[in-house]
Symmetry: D2
Subunit: 381 residues, 4 copies
């Protein structure tokens, strides 16, 4: 008989909504190897979590995450909280034998990440970091093409994650701009996605050099604004970061993360250049992958704008949805991620990106910060 997984989700705001939707939708569109039950939703605010419970589709609500982690009824713990809470929760969940899905970045720092990896390995549970962008169909297709050698030797990996909300100095200071809650601000929050894509698509970094930066050092505190008070606070985490690097396969890397790019709402742009071709992607046009095949006939070479919406297994994931040309949206990246995670749990096998990936990611994040502090290249080998 098919197994049924009972899920407990910690966090019910932006990420909590996206995760809840994915838990609900994954079994509707993918033939999963186990059933899913949205068992318990956890949040610190009793009224808030209870108000969210039914609309998000959960059977129970709690304000104490240990209720989830320790419950014998729960099989999967899904952590969608601010970063600072990940380590404690994930380690406790692993110790209780739960499979763990954890939002990115894995932890606040290397030490936390290492402890998290150790915990899940010791427990033998399935673990995954929620770098949902790996499972954009266009990115999964790019990965397949790279694995097939469609680009040959890789020369360049170039990526930028650009948003614009911090360009306004009145945008409030929330947990994402504080070191103790976010780790390294925008660097941890969105640069980590680029690092994950670089590692997934092209490979490991061997050395990096970069800078983490804060354009606006003081902002109105979000916590005060919630009480109707304007009170300025110090931004203690980077609000922008960029770095260059060398990768194991000889490629040069160039990554940048910022929330100071007016007009870029959630733009993740990638370009990968290899001996035999190039690939480009822009998340604001997420149903497309650009592909240049240098081996096309000389008079008719050009970047192909591949609409990644084909049916029936031709391209990854999309065949489970609608006919060609009927595009997907942001939320689908989570549904694909969760479907793969559930299948891995059902079969007790690893699923990328694992907590080890999260740790390796943190090593790159940390190396860039160290580089920024010391003004020099930092080796990762």
């Amino acid at each position: 008989m098919k197994k049924n997984f009972r899920v407990g989700l910690i966090g019910y705001r932006f990420m909590g909504r996206a995760h809840s939707n994915a838990w609900r939708q994954a079994p509707r569109f993918f033939k999963l190897k186990a059933g899913i039950e949205l068992h318990t939703l956890c949040g610190r605010d009793a009224a808030g979590v209870e108000a969210a419970r039914a609309p998000l589709g959960w059977q129970n609500a709690t304000t104490d995450w240990r209720d989830i982690v320790e419950s014998p009824l729960i099989d999967i713990v899904d952590i969608a909280t601010p970063t600072f809470a990940h380590a404690e929760m994930a380690i406790a969940a692993a110790r209780c034998g739960k499979h763990v899905l954890c939002e990115k970045p894995l932890g606040l720092d290397l030490k936390q990440c290492e402890a998290m990896v150790a915990a899940v390995k010791k427990a033998g549970v399935v673990h995954m970091v929620c770098h949902n962008y790996r499972r954009i169909p266009a990115i999964a297709l790019a990965k397949r093409m790279l694995d097939e050698g469609a680009l040959g030797r890789i020369f360049h990996f170039r990526a930028r994650y650009a948003q614009d909300r911090l360009a306004d100095p009145e945008f409030p200071l929330d947990w994402r701009l504080q070191k103790e809650t976010s780790g390294s601000g925008v660097h941890s929050d969105i640069q980590s996605h680029l690092i994950d894509l670089a590692r997934y698509l092209v490979g490991e970094f061997t050395e990096v050099c970069g800078l983490v930066n804060t354009f606006v050092p003081r902002r109105p505190l979000a916590s005060a604004l919630a009480r109707g008070v304007r009170k300025m606070g110090k931004v203690t985490a980077p609000d922008s970061a960029l770095f260059i690097g060398r990768m194991k396969n000889g490629a040069l890397a160039n990554l940048e993360a910022t929330r100071y790019a007016p007009g870029r709402k959630n733009q993740i742009t990638l370009e990968i250049n290899g001996r035999k071709g190039s690939l480009c992607f822009d998340f604001e046009d997420m149903n497309r992958l650009q592909y240049y095949n240098a081996e096309d006939p000389g008079d008719r070479r050009g970047f192909r704008s591949i609409l990644v919406t084909e049916r029936d297994g031709i391209q990854p994931y999309v065949g489970n949805w609608w006919p060609p040309g009927h595009g997907l949206g942001y939320e689908h990246t989570f549904i694909h991620t969760f479907a793969d995670f559930v299948n891995a749990c059902a079969e007790g096998r690893p699923v990328h990106p694992t907590f080890e990936d999260g740790l390796k990611n943190q090593r790159v994040l940390t190396a860039v910060e160290e580089s920024s502090q010391n003004g020099r290249w930092v080796s990762l080998t």
Copy 2:
């Protein structure tokens, strides 16, 4: 106490899946004025409909649509069948006092559409044709801008609905290519969407002249292929159609529908030109609206690529979803449509596009066909 609507859905394939998803998701993302219960799913094939029932989220299944239409438990009948069945079902549903949501085109011909309008009006139920593209956020934004007069006097409405699956002469002959099941093939199936958008955004047609065409007159029968047999059948409905026209406000119209455009998967392109600016849209890039404001300063005028993903009521519908830059997909158009329909049912008021809209649409479709037959312009006034 908030009302709860029990829904019965007839049809469980492509449209049935999209509708089921919309019924499930609408109450999760929109504060509806009534609850939704996915009560009964209907399909002709007993095994098929039962297999679809749970994955699509329905409580019950039946093979007889009258079970839905006549059930005192059902409040809303949603018709997602091939066109030929719409009229009988909708009329029966109206007679039983159900609110009716019907897939497009409304009916096979003018006579059916007129009977359907008469039935819903007599019954006093809420009625809507599922022209889901009206509620693409970019289209809803365009409508708002047009209503505000952002474009001034309108000169041109230009639209094309282009797909490519029929370019392959081996693509099977299904109900969509037969007159008795589809009405007018591609003309009814996808041209009707363009006509709906033209009427919604710019207004009524006063005269039209066009052609309906069949490029490939014989194809392998889908019904035979399903039994593993290749047997050719006659295509009895148009597989492409185009027309020009004049609109009540003086604008010129140019509409085209085809499934013979390789590379166009589900491309719906619109351009509207007015005295003060232009609007453009492409469904393959559905989260964007292009807007040219002729009143911008002379040296910095250009089409604005508006990413229609802003939060909190700035743009229609999208604020209920994710943060800016996190785009939506095809299925969301249904969710928006169904949310508006449910609210209209709860308040007992009309919701566009009504069955009258469906009838007016059919008048244009029919006029184009008549024009094609007679080789001359046909008046619609």
Copy 3:
């Protein structure tokens, strides 16, 4: 010894400038089979033409076009005047044994065009209509691909020529909006380019149905404005026109020409769909050709954005200019046209588009006007 052609150009404003530039530049970038001498420039205003003479590179100036046509020193007559003057000049030039290059459209009406064709044929001179867009490198590449059968059976030809200057009702009434000087206004002026491209790329029309239209019936007279007086005059020629048609090879055609499309400055968009692929072009991005190859592998099909700037004979014309990626502009289309014309003159052979092409073009223009007047389809066979 290499022949030297002495050229006389009639007209020195917009087209006169573009033609002069082409005469100067063609021998600099193309190895022509004859030399070029910019002998005499003609214009009706003595001061104007003399002021233009040296900057445009001409040896002599005159106010009487017969000085050019009848001069024994002149080999080539280039007519860049308003349309109404073409026939008389071209016929006189042919009678005097000059090779004739004539701006489009060939004449005011069928009668003029027929007389022009008769004259050049009787004289045995080389004749060409200046439909310069045939020699945009991207269009020439499209032609080559179509000739090679890259698209297979053609289903659709779709084109639009869109500008925006007439959207302003204060834009003055010049010769282009008057029947007696322009023939058929925007229809003759820019629709003729689309007809030429349709015929060049896809083939002949067999029947057409369309409308010619005037959005703004009265405008300030340009001639009065030149004297500082605002005086309204009647627009006697169409300011917009659209038509649909059937082509000899079975393709459906859809053409539209307007100057009422804010934001479209000189946009010529084409799409051709065939069994095996599609081609698209936009003159506002003239160095690119979009090509969809339906025979590319299923998971990586997409419109290729071909940058038509390759070197050394890989793509038409561009190898004579700059390295790959260094694009061309509007004026280059004339240079390519004139280079081909000079070579044809040197070898005494026809060069497309000939005056016969101009006449066939006029037949389509006329048929559309007739169709507009009678409200029905007009056959061209």
Copy 4:
């Protein structure tokens, strides 16, 4: 009476052709403050330079550049040779009192550049480095907008110069890949353009950190291939380079130059983000400037695709050419540059970018190289 400048041009290959064209065309399309005479063309190969002379429009040819520099007949010396020859020629020209226009980069190294600056200052001649991309109309418009404060405080300058010819390891080793002739290979050759645009548009760099790199260390020698022999040689200059930096106004910079990006033919992409908006540019679509105005109404904000082809002084340079929508090409950037240079010579005033700009550019180039060697940030203040 209007002055007449006699020009001597050294170099007749790619740059020589582009410069000759600009000298010929500038007076045709711009009302210059002096006349231009294409007096003498110089090249080392006697047959080659004589064959090029007439087609390129020059009166005389010579194989000794001193004939030009020392001739009392010559007013302007235009240096379009490989980099290694610039300094000697420019210094000699200045000493002889000639105005000097010199291809980029100014010299091989700081020492050369400093001597060149000293020479032109001492001589009091007009001097300019041919960074032609400053005078792309879209870039000139961007500059005007930045000067007007349209973007407010600048956060990011991001640029990439990407080509693809070196991705093929068989592409020959020419002077551009050798240290002694090129200075710093791709870094000098094309990165210098980005540095110039950064300095022009946003301001000075205060510190940089980067790497210069060689992907393919040995290639067939061009000189041997010219003799039909395949002989490998060592690449002694970088074939790719990237760096990050801080600018005086607080902006972060990210620049990259490569010839290993298949599909990028001559792509120069820029993005500038400021408090009030963003600007983007792509040379492969050179007639457009993308502009996001954060102060547009909230529901209709988006990047404007400004077609920089307006008439009559609305946008820089383009009014001298064709009507709106009739785009320009690569060669026009030189024509604009030379027109400005001639006017400056006529008025005896400086014209940007001066040799001082070339020197400051070299300081950045050198700092990046030093940074690459030492693995750390290098200050430029």
